[in-house]
Amino acid sequence: MSNERTKRIWDDLDRLEKRELLILVEAAVAVLQSGLEDEDSLHDMPSAPLISTLHETLLRENVEVEPSQILNLIDNNDVSLKLCKKLLKEISGLPELAKEIEDTYNTRTKMMSFDVESTLLAASLLVLSIKIKYVDLKSGKIKFYEFSNKAIKVLCEFLDSKIGG
């Protein structure tokens, strides 16, 4: 049952409304955040330090990119949503992680709450996708370091298309 449900939400990624997609991204950030050790939470981090954190993370991975390029990418709602969608699609390839993100998403959507839409989530998701080596899931610890290359590839594609466009 849960596998079917997981499949459904991840398959329906393109059909999710903007608000739903952002909740799913926030859920992914919350789950991945557990892999960060002894560092400040990215939750509620303002744009400037977040972009600088992303820039430093990319430099450490030998990705030469200007902070202004990242800002342009993150600032543009449509582009950052597409970037999030692409990263989520990659994440859906990890079934255990996808399941936990979806559970978190489902719990959140059943709460009496309202999430303010923030495109900064794209930057948070990128930082976590590149930086994290392992993720502590409820079902156990999983390797995540191989995901870093995929995330960088996705980012580079977007930067190229943005610059080219």
Binding site: E100, M112, F114
Partner: protein
């Protein structure tokens, strides 16, 4: 058991530059002072806990190490020895500083949360507590007549209360769900309510700002006000925080300002602020602000239930004044308020309300004991391992 036999104790906290101390007062008036520890040790933990609980997605994920550490370990420092609780039935907690909003009712004592051992109510100050108690109509009657079953299974003679219940989600797609919460409450307790006949009752329709405001401005307001809606917190100016409600369907209403000489001046009753730009309501919406409540609110309700996200959350102003929607309702005349310390799931709130209103209205328990009963019921059910669920609702103000 009679109300007059209930043993009431209090814990009053104090935060100095160096230490956190608290005074316990038992039902016989005996006082003891305890040290909870150094401020340098506890304050960072309190800050981390508050930050964690303000992150709704962490709550949804269940990733709450600071909450579990508080409940299982250091939270015990903030309470007297467990023997002290054996001699009280109801506990009034008066926090201070960063202890406002900390769920002391969740701290485990012998594997049971404190809230399941004794009935708990919070009050931000002793003077507010005494005002809440003074205004409670139940205290103007002879409580010796009030008897309730200690086994919770012997319904006593019911009293008929008036109620106004309404729910609206102006931001998301949960309007029917929000209405469903109050529908379920009303269906469950409508036999105990005197102005309630059916779902089609005029008092139950989707409430707009002016309807609620009318309810809040009435000195003979309903005994129970139950609102399921989003709360908005303005961290820069609490008085501009408020409830997100539907826009007046009849257009702009007018209110009368009384002038000298018995004359009146009619003004358009516009909201004091717009909906923040971050929000994109899916229906016409307005904010009923705390400032409006403070200007016009004239409640006399026994209970206001604020069933929304984080309705008990706010900042602490100078003079140790915590500001939140729950506090505002206590300031404008409510005897007691039920509110949420953090984001809460709809299913849980329905279940909790069923137990609470069953205890309070049907079994005629005082509110704090009805609260204790709901925690006990919830703790023995499927939410046992989810303190982030069963600990989110608090009772504030008078316990009776």
């Amino acid at each position: 058991m009679r109300v007059s036999e209930i043993r009431v104790g209090a814990l009053i906290y104090n935060i100095s530059f160096l230490t956190i101390t608290f005074m316990s007062i038992d039902s016989k008036g005996r006082k003891s002072v305890y040290s909870a520890g150094d401020i340098g040790e506890i304050e960072p933990k309190l800050m981390r806990l508050s930050e964690e609980l303000s992150n709704g997605m962490k709550i949804a994920h269940g990733d709450l190490p600071n909450l579990h550490d508080f409940i299982d370990n250091w939270g015990r420092q903030l309470l007297p020895p467990k023997e002290w609780f054996e001699n009280i039935d109801v506990l009034v907690i008066v926090p201070r500083g960063n202890l406002h909003g900390i769920p002391l009712h969740l701290v485990l004592i012998d594997n049971s949360p404190l809230g399941a051992l004794v009935g708990i109510t919070y009050s931000s100050g002793m003077s507010l507590m005494s005002r809440c108690m003074d205004r409670n109509p139940l205290r103007k009657k002879d409580s010796a007549d009030w008897e309730f079953g200690s086994d919770y299974n012997s319904p006593c003679s019911p009293r008929k209360l008036s109620a106004i219940l309404g729910g609206v989600d102006v931001l998301g797609s949960k309007n029917d769900i929000f209405k469903g919460i109050v529908t379920e409450i009303s269906n469950y307790v409508k036999g105990e309510l005197r102005n309630f006949s059916s779902k089609d009752d005029p008092c139950f329709n989707e409430f707009d700002r002016s309807s609620w405001k009318t309810a809040f401005m009435c000195p003979n307001s309903s005994d129970i006000l139950c609102i399921a809606s989003h709360g908005y917190l303005d961290f820069n100016n609490h008085r501009m925080s408020g409830l997100l409600l539907a826009r007046d369907k009849l257009g702009v209403t007018y209110r009368n300002l009384a002038l000298h000489g018995g004359k009146g001046f009619h003004v358009r009753d516009l909201p004091l602020r717009d909906i923040p730009l971050d929000f994109q309501p899916n229906i016409d919406a307005e904010i009923l602000t705390s400032a409006e409540l403070e200007i016009d609110g004239l409640l006399n309700s026994e209970l206001v239930a604020l069933l929304g996200c984080s309705t008990s959350v706010g900042q602490i102003y100078s003079g140790d004044e915590p500001v939140s929607l729950a506090e505002t309702f206590l300031h404008v005349g409510a005897c007691s308020v039920i509110s949420c310390l953090w984001d809460v799931s709809v299913e849980f709130i329905k279940e909790w309300c069923r137990y609470f209103f069953d205890g309070w209205l049907i079994h005629r328990l005082p509110k704090a004991l009805a609260y204790q009963r709901s925690i006990q019921k919830i703790f023995s059910g499927k939410y046992k391992d989810y303190p982030e669920q069963f600990g989110c609702i608090v009772l504030k103000g008078d316990w009776l």
